[in-house]
């Protein structure tokens, strides 16, 4: 059993390096996923996030327990299933991460800019990531239900669609270059067709996820950041409009898909 896990891990690592591997690699990864389905390492992040959520912290020394993620103060269950969404108090459409930062700023007195300018896994950003793991686990098994009623939600969807098809950079890439057709692969990695419900749900329903090849938990913001890196674009600013708009686009497309977060990825 242990041997099987480590060989599956090795396969994942060689895939990350982008070199030759056995055709059965995707099967092996599926097997590996099955084996550790009851022990996704994301659980460690989730447990840390649960503690951070409940612990009084920051300049105001209060917890996040009154944080409103869209279903009322303190409601975590089902919250990520309906994000991003419009929030009246900020007059903005926010995804889970930008909303957690709003709570850290308004309830606890942290400096939002500092969190936005920090790198992934750096400083207070690390706490945001752990809280994400906690919150998304509480929507596991539920259906994706990202709203598109408020005019600002509709605006963000439209922006997300345009961003998805925006072709640029030295390699002429857009999100659509890889994610607008069925049955496509980069090397052996299957690429979901995000322009349709099924593919969108495959992407949106499994992120955030624990990423085996890098050995850490990736939020949706981090997933998108790395997509843009590989697109050879400049770097998207953490929680910027484009990143939230893309989540709205994917989430709305993925409506009624089942949430499997935190996922387990290669």
């Amino acid at each position: 059993m242990k041997k099987a896990i480590s060989s599956a891990l090795l396969v994942s690592f060689s895939m990350a390096a982008g070199f030759a591997m056995a055709q059965s690699a995707t099967d092996d990864i599926a097997k590996y996923r099955e084996m550790i389905a009851d022990g996704n390492p994301a659980e460690l992040y989730e447990a840390a996030g649960e503690d951070i959520w409940a612990k009084p912290m920051g300049p105001k020394n209060v917890s996040l327990q009154k944080c409103d993620l869209g279903l009322g103060p303190g409601v975590v269950k089902g919250a990520s299933a309906q994000l991003p969404r419009y929030f009246k108090d900020t007059n903005k459409v926010q995804d889970l991460e930008s909303r957690i930062i709003t709570c850290m700023e308004r309830l606890q007195g942290y400096d939002a800019k500092e969190i936005i300018n920090a790198g992934f896994e750096k400083g207070k950003r690390k706490d945001v990531e752990a809280v994400v793991a906690y919150v998304v686990t509480a929507s596991k098994g539920m259906k994706i239900n990202v709203p598109m009623k408020h005019p600002k939600e509709k605006e963000m969807y439209a922006m997300g669609e345009k961003a998805f098809f925006f072709q640029g950079g030295p390699m002429d890439f857009a999100c659509a270059s890889c994610h607008a057709e069925d049955g496509k692969r980069i090397r052996l990695q299957d690429l979901p067709n995000i322009t349709e419900q099924k593919g969108a749900a495959l992407g949106y329903g499994y992120w955030p996820a624990y990423r085996v090849s890098s050995g850490n938990f990736w939020t949706m913001q981090r997933r998108l950041n790395d997509c843009y890196r590989q697109q050879r674009f400049p770097e998207p600013i953490y929680t910027s409009d484009v990143t939230i708009a893309l989540s709205v686009y994917m989430g709305v497309k993925a409506k009624d898909g089942v949430i499997h977060t935190p996922g387990l990825k290669r």
């Binding site: 030759a20 050879r232 400049p234 990143t243």
Partner: protein, 202 residues
Amino acid sequence: MKKLHLILSAALVVATSTTVMAQSKFEKDHAASFKANGQAGMDRLERDDAQKFCSDPAALAGKGDPKKRAAIEKANMATIKQPSDGKYLGNWQEGERIAQSGRGATWTDKAGTPNGGGCYNCHQINKKEISHGNIGPSLWNYGKLRGNSEAVVQYTWGKIYNAKAYNACSNMPRMGHLKVLTEDQMRHVMALLLDPESPVNQ
């Protein structure tokens, strides 16, 4: 005098076309969401005509204004430079290395290091490499099936140099035109596809 007048009006046209190219609201909001990092500067969000045209989902799917499409293909065709010394084929072993590497040009890559071609990301090439993508067609036996007549060689060079010359919204990067690969690197990739000795043609 007449010549001066011509130069002046040409300068005027250039000046107006740059001012006319004001950003749309979307382009402004979109750009405001990014920051330059390393070699990945903000200029990468400035799209040429082809990139703008292909940012429309209909155009990407092969529809859209056929006249515009033809004009884009013509303009891209005009960018293709045949190799300076008339030599098209390099070394297929080098070509295989370039085809394997998907590195380069991201904000985590050091500027000035050679880019890979990333060919296997999307194409089957040497059948022995089973980890290949399928966004582009299989290139197995590329030269064996087509031979290496002047027409085939020049077309292949052109396709690698600027794929949008043949299909305005091709998903293939314009390796030569946008300087992803050097002329020498393209010669090596050419050899991988066309050299009768290349494993691709066995």
